[in-house]
């Protein structure tokens, strides 16, 4: 007899067997079932059993379309439900910022929704392509029959069993095997593999690190060996240049190099003798005496002389260390050059003259000439300050121990402990501010991205006139410095600002709306006003890219009967995402550090008193990490050590996020080097 609806049992040789003994699969639009490998293994007669017990469940191929329709409807409903969920969650999150975790859930729901969207569009597109939807309800009948089977079919099974086995053992699938999985399984497989891959990836990094250390050690050892050997085997000129740098070059008539080496050595020794040694000596303690007071009885005044300055000891100590490293490197270079010169002259080969050296700087060594200044600037004004500020996180530097009137000292990991101690006010504030920072960055990035693209598409639509005018108006926001426009906008929405006043004079409201006074409202406001700032950028950026999309893609889509929305999902979106993937990442990072919008609009407020204060600065509901950092550094009780710790944390957060995105986003993994 026939069965209706869901299959629960199958009739094999007159015996009713439960479905769990079978694996179902679809092949060429037909459904088949076969015993699971486990059952086959337990069954007495192997081989034969597998072949004879294959059954076929035949469904009409038209049915396929209908399933698609239903599936599309189903996903559509899920999609709507998810959207509603996300909306509710947003509202909850926005109405009570304390429930930030709800906001995090919202992001997950949003992500899930996005995943759901893909099969939805696939199914929908198929329907459009194939048939008109048939929604009339109808019954499906299944009949279980023994299958005669073909070799092809058996081969197919074998592959399935292999895939199954691999899946159960978490082994990687080949590309062909992977393609046989259905969509859900593909995602599952990918996700599983991603997480399974993490330990291996970490291990790989450790191995790499180990190799790096080993490599470093080996190269240091090699260098030392080379230095010793050079001294042993080298000529007297070379030996002298161990002490007087550039001597070897001078003897080989490379007077320019000799001069540079020699001057560098003199400068180094001079610096170390006059200042460097002293700074370095105090580096360990960061100073002992801050000030000496003296009373002058004749003038009747007390004078104060400053002795040690922890800040400067830290700074100049660091510079001295940089200098020493540079000197060691140069000295090594000097030794190496002497050896090479020795070898060259022994072989009687030509040695470069100073003139040739200079010419080389404009030719083969041109990159050195060109990079020298930018790199020096980068090292002195970016690398050095950042290392300095990270070091500050390990000291007790704050407004009390300012390093000038009261010295500060090393404290190890105390500051990091403070912020990471679970349950402390500081860690609570850090956690919540971090959460809001991420939410802010996600929202700001994606809302700007999609709306900006939308605006660009509107302006670029065929037949829209005065394109330049629209564009120019939007571009004004970029041209006019933000501190003017945003400060003005901030005042527009103040309690006494024009917006409130106008609304009140119209009689719409009785009391001013606290745009900046209410945490939730302020958060919405910064997000909305950020659109005002961000859309023009995206509009400009995407205009060019949108124009680059080959027009014939759209034309062929149109002839296929795809509507505008489909065209957007099928052509525009994938293209844009592929091309601007790295840009999205960049703008996410820059939104995490988007100081201007938050600071100029709300200065981080309204204050959230539950978090207490750090450095005399009470963080507020719209405070993101970077404005918090600013408040802590410039507050009345500037707490530099904490600022440094938080800055380091921001860095860690950003780099971890970038790492994750880089790992899973294929278009960003593009090797930057292409030659």
């Amino acid at each position: 007899m026939s069965k209706r609806g869901k299959i629960t049992e199958l009739e094999i040789g007159g015996e009713m067997l439960p479905m769990r003994l079978f694996m179902k699969f679809t092949y060429r639009g037909e459904k088949y079932a076969a015993f699971t490998p486990a059952y086959r293994a337990s069954s007495s007669d192997e081989g034969e059993v597998a072949l004879t017990h294959i059954v076929s469940v035949k469904t009409k191929s038209e049915n396929y379309t209908e399933r698609k329709v239903l599936f599309a409807m189903f996903t559509c409903i899920i999609h709507i439900v998810m959207m509603l969920c996300a909306l509710c969650a947003t509202l909850v999150f926005v109405l009570s910022p304390d429930l930030w975790w709800v906001g995090m859930m919202m992001i997950i729901v949003g992500a899930a929704d996005f995943v759901m969207l893909i099969p939805f569009h696939r199914a929908y597109a198929l329907i459009q392509k194939n048939q008109k939807p048939r929604t009339k309800s109808r019954t499906t009948y299944y009949k279980v029959i023994p299958c005669e089977g073909s070799d092809e079919l058996f081969a197919e099974f074998e592959i399935h069993f292999q895939i199954l086995e691999k899946l159960s053992k978490n082994l990687p699938l080949s590309m062909l095997e992977y393609q046989r999985l259905n969509f859900g399984r593909k995602i599952l497989y990918k996700t599983k593999m991603f997480f399974l891959g993490i330990p291996k990836w970490v291990a790989g990094k450790f191995v790499k690190l180990g190799l790096l250390i080993k490599h470093f050690g080996v190269s240091v050892w090699d260098n030392i060996k080379d230095v010793v050997m050079t001294f042993k085997n080298g000529s007297w000129k070379t030996r002298v240049s161990y002490l007087v740098m550039g001597f070897g070059n001078l003897m080989h008539k490379q007077w320019l190099r000799a001069l540079v080496f020699f001057l560098f050595e003199v400068a180094f020794i001079g610096y170390m003798a006059m200042w460097g040694g002293a700074w370095l000596g105090k580096f360990g303690s960061l100073g002992t005496i801050a000030t000496i007071e003296q009373y002058d009885p004749i003038l009747d005044v007390t004078t104060t002389v400053h002795v040690d300055n922890s800040f400067k000891i830290l700074l100049y100590g660091l510079i001295t260390i940089f200098f020493i490293v540079a000197f060691v490197y140069t000295w090594r270079l000097n030794v190496k050059q002497c050896r090479i010169l020795d070898e060259l002259s022994a072989k009687g080969e030509k040695i470069k003259t100073s003139k040739e050296d200079v010419q080389d700087l404009a030719d083969n060594e041109f990159h050195k000439t060109f990079l020298s200044l930018p790199v020096v600037g980068f090292v002195m004004f970016t690398v050095l300050p950042i290392i300095f500020m990270i070091l500050v996180g390990f000291t007790s530097y704050d407004y009390e121990a300012d390093g000038y009137n009261n010295l500060f000292s090393w404290v190890g990991l105390d500051n990091f402990n403070q912020i990471l101690t679970f349950g402390s006010k500081l860690s609570l504030a850090f956690g919540e501010i971090l959460a809001w920072t991420l939410i802010w960055a996600v929202f700001a990035t994606f809302s700007n991205y999609f709306l900006g693209m939308f605006v660009a598409m509107m302006i670029n639509k065929k037949g829209i006139k005065i394109k330049k005018f629209w564009r120019t108006i939007l571009v004004l926001t970029i041209a006019i410095p933000q501190f003017i426009s945003l400060l003005y906008v901030s005042n527009l929405f103040a309690d006494n600002g024009i917006v409130n006043a106008t609304l009140m004079s119209w009689g719409w409201i009785n009391a001013p709306i606290p745009f900046w006074g209410d945490g939730t409202l302020a958060r919405i406001m910064v997000l909305v006003i950020n659109l005002w700032v961000g859309i023009p950028y995206l509009m400009l950026t995407t205009t060019g890219i949108l124009m680059n999309i080959p027009q014939d893609l759209y034309e062929s889509a149109q002839t296929d009967g795809a509507n505008a929305f489909q065209q957007f999902c099928k052509i525009t979106m994938p293209y844009m995402l592929f091309v601007t993937g790295p840009y999205l990442l960049n703008s996410f990072v820059s939104n995490i550090n988007n100081f201007n919008v938050i600071y100029l609009l709300t200065q981080g407020g309204p204050a959230n008193f539950a978090w207490g204060d750090v450095g005399g600065y009470i963080a507020g509901d719209t405070t993101i990490l970077i404005t918090w950092l600013f408040g802590i550094t410039t507050g009345s009780e500037a707490n530099y050590k904490m600022a440094s710790v938080i800055g380091t944390m921001i860095f860690i957060v950003i780099s971890v996020l970038s790492l994750i995105v880089f790992t899973i986003m294929p278009s960003t993994r593009r090797e930057e080097d292409y030659s």
Partner: protein, 346 residues
Amino acid sequence: MTDKQDESGEVFEFYGTSPSNGKSTEIEILLPEGKNADEYNDLPVPSFGTIPRYAEEAPKKERISQKTKDRIGKIAIYIVLSLMSLIWILPFVGILLESFRCESTGLAGYLIPKQWGFDNYVRLFTFQDGIFLKWYGNTLMIGCVTAIVQTAFQLATAYVLSRFRFKGRKLLMNLILVFGMFPGFLTLILLYTWMHDWNLTDANAPYGLMIIYCASSGMGYYIAKGFFDTISKSLDEAARVDGASQMQVFFKIILPLSKPIVIYSILMGFMAPWGDFVMATFMANNASAGYNVAAGLQWLITDSMKNEYYTTFCAGGVVVAVPITVLFLLLQKYYVAGVTGGAVKG
């Protein structure tokens, strides 16, 4: 109704992803990519089972003509764009209008002045012995120097990283990437103290700022590098064969081709100092003579100054924004080329 539900249950299973329903395991395979179900329609239909019958298809609904649809779409777009333009331009109109307000100097609850006049502009240029001119001069100076040095640094870094392969290149690029992720403010306090040692803060802050802006500007090489990457290497090679040195290749062949990126860099370098108030306020540290316009104008609407100087701030905003905007709009083309390239190249 029941049938339908059964159907959907079946459908769900068809696509189901539940891996853990008891002991059974299932594998479903979708149709191979690129084929559609029609191809299988001619497969033999088994002799048993029932072939379902469908109702006749409903007649097509009369569709609105494509032309009308287009027109409606366009009108909608015009409405949206007009609304957007209004919102986008409102704050700027507001600043302009308020800068002409004479009857009061603080925040007011209306846009259109009751008494028009240039009082605020006069005040702007005369208060504190015309300190605004000093700010303006400071900013111009910083802007010009930064524009030149930054362009030189960025082009040099980008060109080298684009064309040369040398030891440490990858390291340098990674270092720039990693250090670029650090929040820059963190170094404010250090840079201040350091610059203070050289007497480049307070009233001399513009010079200190200049150094800070310029020194690390090579880090923003990405866009220029993307540009150089697109210039064909065969050009340089041909020149090299003809005996040109690397320096000549750059200055004689590449640079003339790089006008858009040079202008973009100059534009960016020039504009940035006009908007930076954090660094500028910090470096000037209360010495208002060392402010740039951003720091100065921002100071005018701090809480204690706002009542007296709000409209002056608006006037200052106009004075600052107009030239910058004109310059920007004139060079907009290059800016677009730059940001688009930047977005694509990452």
